[in-house]
Symmetry: C2
Subunit: 242 residues, 2 copies
């Protein structure tokens, strides 16, 4: 995400003063792209208006602590980390959270990516919104609790959805059919939610309470007890949602 | 599905001899569109080369039985019903199963819809393939067992996925955020499976075994014990897949 975000900010005319990365090659490569200095050690961090921490949750607290700069606006990009992480460390603090998965290779168009911002004072909140709006058309204020809920919702809608695809792929493999055959149906499932709310769009044996089909499916899953459990739990939840 | 399929076949030059529907308005409307006769009673079914049963699973056996015609090729369109349904009723039998959800209003482009065909003899299998290929570029032979597995895979990848969207929508509502914010991430989740297999594309706290985040998520779900169960089961299944 660091790479994509820094490139996007640079493209919009923001001056990237310095790039920090533990790996010199990574730091240098990105720095060269955006015409900035680079370093591998927090002790060498230069003075700037904004310090952007686009690092994993695991090392974020340590990085905040090791940055010797106290002045300026300190901003992290982590969906599930609270703003209070900066308490006692930095006076002006914020969050700038893009809700998307990133890879280094694929260039991302930020225009459609929802950006969630938070700051511990109004002026910085407005400053972050201004920056966010140069990148994206979808900027939201979200406090740490909202962001936490957003992260949980994304786990259900994306991480868990991907696992259901993995199960479907294996079931099809067992029947010598390629995953590709499901693609039009999957796309229609997504497409439907643009005109109907997900509960309205629900189809399948569970919502019809078609016990025969469900019993047959449970039997088909005999070799996969965990998937049987998932089948039962989600079917039960579908039935109790309506 | 009947409406869409009959219109598509008519558009490709196939002669629709007669439309049958229990509701006269429905029968007449479709018949007028494709220039055919219509009826509401099985007893009046005219002789034809092919009899297509595009009806719900629940009434399919009865419809097969009530059609007085024994000659010709009898074809149903149900994903989870076996070919043996015709045994003892009709000599020549087949299945013509389009893997897509249909609505009467929305015109469907069959070209991209996977069609799965089966017949109880080679000549009819080839005949059904020929018809299928005039409609779609994705025609597969699939026996009843493969079709059953396909149906189960579709329940996981589509029906259950839609329920995960419903859960995500409610979680976002609780945080005053619209479901729309998840759309780019959902689209990227689907998009990823075009270049990576679903297990390779897996991200999130479960695959990282991030116990802190998972514990926090379980606590956030305190008001929804069924969703907690789903969270635990899918996370466990993700961990044991790799």
């Amino acid at each position: 995400m660091a790479t994509q975000l820094v490139k996007a900010l640079h493209a919009k005319g923001y001056i990237i003063r310095q790039v920090m990365n533990r790996t010199p090659e990574s730091a240098r490569t990105l720095a060269e792209t955006v015409g900035s200095q680079w370093t591998t050690s927090p002790e060498e961090i230069k003075k700037a208006d904004i310090y952007l921490y686009a690092v994993s949750d695991a090392i974020l607290p340590e990085m905040i602590h090791r940055n010797p700069r106290k002045e300026g606006l300190h901003v992290h990009t982590a969906g599930s980390m609270p703003l209070t992480l900066f308490d006692g460390e930095k006076k002006r603090a914020g969050v700038f959270y893009p809700l998307q998965t990133f890879s280094k290779q694929k260039v991302v168009d930020f225009a459609e990516i929802p950006l969630f911002i938070e700051a511990n004072n109004n002026t910085d909140s407005q400053l972050l919104r201004q920056i966010a709006e140069t990148l994206s058309r979808k900027v939201f204020n979200a406090d740490s609790q909202q962001r936490q809920q957003l992260h949980l919702a994304a786990v259900f809608a994306c991480n868990f959805t991907n696992h259901l695809f993995a199960i479907a792929e294996q079931l099809l493999k067992d029947a010598n059919l390629p995953f590709e055959v499901l693609r039009p149906l999957i796309e229609e499932t997504i497409e439907k939610t643009t005109t109907l709310s997900p509960p309205e769009a629900q189809t399948g044996p569970a919502i019809r309470n078609d016990l025969n089909v469900m019993q047959k499916h449970i039997e088909q899953l005999a070799a996969h007890p965990q998937w049987q459990e998932i089948y039962r739990m989600i079917s039960k939840s579908i039935k109790s949602t309506t």
